[in-house]
Symmetry: C2
Subunit: 103 residues, 2 copies
DNA sequence: CTATAATATGAGCATATGCTCATATTATAA
DNA sequence: TTATAATATGAGCATATGCTCATATTATAG
């Protein structure tokens, strides 16, 4: 495939996706949700972070449609909504596990 | 695979990789180099950006070993050095092309 | 050796990011 | 209805990020 300049909208879109995956807290949240649907407090407890921090990040991830939520009583359960992006993350986690330490 | 908390070093490493891919200028540089080895000025001209900006970003990318360079006379030619990360990017570019506009 | 071309680098600035604290909102249980 | 649990939200702050300008560095051509 020959080189073609990337259009602005496309680049912004890609940038946005990677930016979402570039923060340690969001990486941890997504990785956790990949294995188990969780309420906000469950996530905060598991990751030992403040409820507010988690809530803000979930809002960020939800607005990008990377996660979704459902309500049960007065709790919100969050889960993965974008499996393509999730695949990127898990793929990179696996790769990193094999790579780390090697030079 | 069951859930396992991600170790700090691993998360930092992954975060760093995605951070590198999260900036529009770096995305454009990498995509260009993926198709063609280029000098600093060639990149600056192609992307219509300042030489200084490109040089700074190349230093950033080189330090992460995503690109490498060779010298020819008094020019430096840069090229891709990490094809796994490059694969992540191209994969996402392709996916975005099909996705954009759709909701 | 000197002028010039190509690249690198440092400081400064504006904006973005992520967290915390305090508080608001919403729904349930009593 | 009221107290409480769960979540959401806004303001403020410290740090990170990316660009530009000016200048330094390095190598080549003459």
């Amino acid at each position: 495939m020959a080189y073609l300049p990337l259009e602005n909208e496309l680049v912004e879109n890609i940038s946005q996706t990677f930016k979402a995956l570039s923060d340690p807290t969001r990486i941890r949240i997504l990785h956790l949700l990949f294995h188990k649907e969780c309420s906000v407090n469950e996530i905060a407890n598991e990751l030992e972070m403040q409820q507010s921090t988690i809530s803000h990040q979930l809002k960020y991830l939800k607005q990008l449609r990377l996660v979704k939520n459902r309500r049960d009583k007065n709790m919100y359960f969050y889960s993965i909504d974008d499996y393509h992006v999730m695949n990127l993350l898990e793929q990179t986690i696996d790769h990193s596990k094999h790579t780390i330490g090697g030079l």
